[in-house]
Amino acid sequence: MGDKVIEVKDLVKEYKQLRAVDGISFDVYEKEIFGLLGPNGSGKSTTINSVLSLLKYSSGSIKLFGREMTPDAYDLKRDTGVIFQDVAVFSELTVYENIDYFCGLYITGKKERKKCVEDAMELVGIGDFRKFYPKQLSGGLLRRLNIACGIAHKPKLIFLDEPTVAVDPQSRNNILEGIMKLRDNGATVVYTTHYMEEVEQICDRIVIMDKGKIIASGTCDELKKLAGTEEKITVGLKNTDKDPTDGIRKLLHVTDVFKEDSIITVSYDGGTHNIARLIDHLREQGVSYSTINSQRPTLNDVFLELTGKELRD
């Protein structure tokens, strides 16, 4: 791990009747993609807004690059880039002019800015649309423009607040690849989302939030261990004359077997070649099947295990 870029300690943000963030602490390290995962209303955006000094928090401390973050800490803000969930651009300016304007809030030199704008357009892949107005762009391209506006000044620390909401799969992949490129180029990324697949795909470390509290943190693998299961195999039986569940339960590493109609779900607590062992067992028992799928636990399973509800509830 590199140096600490963000240090949040005992952060509390209270509204009149609601404790939106309830005493959370976490650190973000240099050159990592840090995922803040949680359902809507879990306190992710409030946390980010507090870190950015957009919100006045009730108690706790926030440090960026080892220094306290305040609304007038302009030198800290110089190294920070933010991409908000909603697109924040001028409808009257072209793609190039928009990126140039937002970059100009950080960089005054014309030449340096021009290069930054070109680099940003290349990174998100909207160079061909430089003379287009936002109204002429598709939803995905608009999101890419939104990202380019936030990262054009080449910040060391980038906050992305749900940047892929309502984005088509092609643009989503492009955005995620871009974020990984930013990390590879030396930036630290804080990524908030409620899409667990994205977090699994790109984040080095993850914090899961619910009701304003951190309920789990660690790497993706570390978190998945909390799910209580390592592998799930689902078998679709061709006929249900024979019930093979008792035999399967005796197989190595099997923790649970569940049968509903013609579908059997087998849970494992570890081990390798579980699927091969199961296929052999079914063949020996003369049980014919139409489908067989192996599934590793997801962060949704972790969330389910920890809170008793789905991440998307």
């Binding site: 803000k77 920070t80 908000f84 937002f102 809030l105 950080y106």
Partner: protein, 380 residues
């Protein structure tokens, strides 16, 4: 310069609006310049009349007709009563004077003959009535002393031959002044529209919640950013004002650059400052661009119609003018009208300064209201 450049780019996207309102002021001013209101000299008015003599060309009726010919333009309408009635209706003649049968006999015998005057009740016909009454009174006076119709006619003619010398007490070129004040009054609508519409639109873009959020998290000092935004608005308003002053020189002539013209210009500058403050005030209330278009149209057109921009104030009902006192446009237009009519600026500056002060007061009021509202919104 980043904020200023973006400000100009957003304005550039709305250039059509500026052209539209400029065209409106040009069209209105050009249309108004056609109405000449010459008053640097005096020319006696001669109404168009028709005389029907039923007294068979008696000496007195002939003398009467000759007198009328000196004071009016005699016209003859062929085609009978219907044609004469049409001529009166369409104002080809302002009066039909019928000298009754026995006119001379009545005068000589000391009676007052019934001279019939048909008219549509215009100012010209009233003038004709006065002329007729004047001549009849003279005939009556001389008929008391003389009995010979020739003598009575000659004496009356001589007595009424004297002309009143009219000399103009004022050097005020009211024709030019009307042209200038009309231009500046119409300019109120264009100034309000160009400044309020554009600034509200531009500020609604800069103050949209997400752009605002992105600005706040940037490394640009927020006070500096606000200062740049204010300077951009000021520069734009000033540029619009200068443009309309140059246009005023083209549309209203050299009078614009006289001492009195300078008073008009100062009045418009103070009004521009007030409009800018109004723009700032409304921009704090309006976030949606569609709302900007609707509300600003209502405000600018409402102010213009209520305060005498399109229709001169003297034609507006008194209750409208009373209500218009609550609007800055009223004081601007009132000051323009005052400048167009006052004989001497030197002796009558108090009225001018009071109107300017009221405009300045409105400026402070709108600016303060805007600051308070934006402060409340920021705290939210």
């Amino acid at each position: 310069m980043t904020v200023f450049n973006a400000f100009l780019r957003v304005i550039r996207r709305n250039i059509g609006t500026i052209i539209l309102y400029t065209a409106i002021v040009i069209i209105f001013s050009a249309a108004n310049s056609g109405s000449n209101n010459e008053s640097t000299g005096f020319t006696a008015e001669k109404p168009d009349i028709m005389v029907v003599d039923l007294d068979n060309d008696s000496v007195l009726s002939k003398g009467f007709t000759a007198f009328l010919e000196e004071n009016a333009v005699l016209k003859n309408i062929d085609g009978g009563d219907e044609a004469v009635a049409d001529a009166l209706f369409y104002r080809e003649i302002s009066s039909l004077i019928t000298i009754p049968e026995g006119f001379e006999k009545d005068i000589v015998s000391g009676k007052t003959p019934q001279v019939e005057i048909s008219s549509p009740g215009t100012a010209s016909s009233e003038l004709t009535k006065m002329t007729v009454q004047r001549y009849l009174r003279a005939l009556k006076v001389f008929a008391e002393k003389y009995s010979d119709p020739d003598v009575i006619a000659r004496k009356a003619q001589d007595a009424l031959a004297g002309k009143t010398e009219v000399s103009m007490m004022t050097k005020l070129d009211t024709a030019s002044m009307t042209k200038v004040s009309s231009y500046f009054n119409f300019a109120a609508y264009s100034l309000m529209s160009c400044i309020m519409f554009i600034i509200c639109l531009v500020l609604s873009s800069f103050n949209s919640p997400m752009v605002h959020k992105r600005t706040v998290v940037s490394s640009m000092n927020f006070r500096k950013y606000n200062l740049h935004l204010i300077l951009s608005c000021l520069s734009y308003a000033l540029a619009v004002w200068v443009f309309f002053m140059i246009l005023g020189r083209i549309m209203a002539g050299e009078t614009v650059f006289t001492a009195r013209g300078a008073a008009f210009i100062i009045n418009s500058l103070v009004f521009t400052a007030c409009v800018l403050a109004m723009a700032f005030f409304f921009s704090t209330l309006l976030k949606e661009k569609n709302a900007v278009t609707g509300i600003i149209n209502v405000v600018t057109l409402g102010c213009s119609f209520l305060c005498g921009v399109f229709v001169p104030a003297q034609f507006l009902p008194s209750w409208v003018l009373t209500a218009a006192h609550a609007l800055p446009t009223y004081w601007y237009v009132e000051n323009n009208d005052f400048l167009a009519q006052t004989q001497s600026l030197r002796g009558d500056l108090t009225h001018y300064i009071i109107d300017l002060s009221v405009l300045a007061g409105f400026t402070v009021l709108f600016a303060a209201a805007g600051i308070i509202i934006s402060g409340i919104k920021r705290r939210e």
